[in-house]
Amino acid sequence: MANIFPKWSNTAPIKILICLALTVGTVVAGVTYWATPKYLRVGYQPIQPVAFEHSLHVDQLGMDCLYCHTFVDRSEHSNVPAASTCMNCHSMVKSDSPKLAPIRNSYESGEPVPWVKIHRTPDYVYFNHSVHINRGVSCVHCHGQVNEMEEVYHAKPLSMAFCLECHRNPENFIRPIDEVTNLNFRYDSREEQIEQGTKFVHDWKVNPPQSCSGCHR
């Protein structure tokens, strides 16, 4: 009687196992790598109606974030400036630049400039800027080095794990309130950051919520 199983069937199970392992492994690796906010959001850089450069206005001209995002320290959302804020200077500086035509039109007609929103948390998350700004959490932790960006892009994942990483150990991040809008500020060493941070956490009674209802209401 001839062999029922041909010779190749000796290695078939192991080959099938390898193929399965490779397929499953690759899919898992792909999902962990790509299907997270670290890939989906980070790097989002829409084309804005005006080629506004933060690097020029903040680093070169030394403007403070609050000149434009004025209400970020007392309101839950951060305002994007109205055209009149730009016209403070651009009524005289580069007042006929074609790049600024949408600003001038908006200022004259009262129609808002259609800026494209970049950072957006899901609607079931209740985020509040002012509590963070008034507790020494700098813009740089959540928005990256905006002062060096020619065009703003989404620099941090802003996922739940990201928020909680800081809420569990705020002393690793917080700094003096005066330095919140100075995105280049760093303590010289990690030890100093933790030492000073621990002091601030104690003095200001910082207690970020870790319970679900803190952020989901």
């Binding site: 397929t23 792909g30 790097g43 829409p46 200077c89 580069k94 808002p112």
Partner: protein
């Protein structure tokens, strides 16, 4: 097996080259993998609202509306004990006295804290044009804001505090108003700081208290 490996390699290379790496810049809006309740039927600040002709969800102030307070002090404003500050001390809000002239005295107590607040706000809102010491040589001067004056001549020193307050609130000539960005308290704080700058830039040795002169090498 070899066929499988070839297909596998092809799929991996194709996926990596289509999807790219983390942190790559992208012009297209982020995809929501599970858009459960991420986008809800509610209106958010600075959002869009088709109900209005200009599609702005934040409505501009109705002309003639009287500001009772800010969202940030909502607790005080809606408290039963709330006194309408504008009725108590109109000069604090308008910078004008009963006859409609700019006031010459501060309508609130000038403390060290107030001047400090003024310095903070001055640095944010005025320094780009008026410069760190108020000499009008802010960074924007060399880009074309040539009209910015110095605070340190007799004309500007003669301005009353009410005049400066009104300049901040409503603007003046080529200077745009800052009333929407600073609340009245903060505006008075800035006025106090402008006065401090004027003093500091027009001081003589005699203004320095004797005990500090040695420290400064005078």
């Amino acid at each position: 097996m070899r066929i499988f490996l070839a297909v596998w390699l092809f799929v991996v290379v194709a996926t990596v080259s289509i999807l790219g790496f983390r942190g790559d810049k992208s012009r297209s809006a982020p995809r929501w993998v599970f858009p459960d309740m991420d986008i809800q039927a509610k209106y958010l600040p600075q959002g869009q609202n088709e109900f209005f002709a200009d599609e702005r969800n934040d409505r501009p102030m109705v002309p003639g509306a009287v500001l009772r307070g800010y969202n940030s002090d909502i607790k005080e404003v809606f408290d039963g004990e709330y006194v309408f500050a504008k009725a108590e001390n109109p000069a604090l809000f308008t910078g004008l006295n009963e006859s409609g002239k700019p006031v010459t005295e501060f309508p609130l107590e000038v403390t060290y804290d107030l001047v400090q607040l003024g310095q903070k706000k001055y640095t944010i809102f005025c320094q780009p044009c008026h410069g760190r010491v108020g000499d009008g040589m802010g960074i924007t001067k060399k880009y074309g804001m040539s009209a910015t004056p110095t605070y340190h001549d007799d004309g500007k020193r003669a301005l009353s505090v009410g005049d400066i307050f009104n300049t901040i609130t409503h603007g003046k000539g080529t200077m745009f108003p800052y009333g929407m960005k600073l609340n009245p308290q903060e505006r008075w704080a800035v006025v106090a700081y402008v006065r401090a700058l004027q003093l500091s830039q027009n001081a003589t040795v005699n203004d320095v208290p004797t005990q500090y002169r040695k420290e400064l090498g005078l």
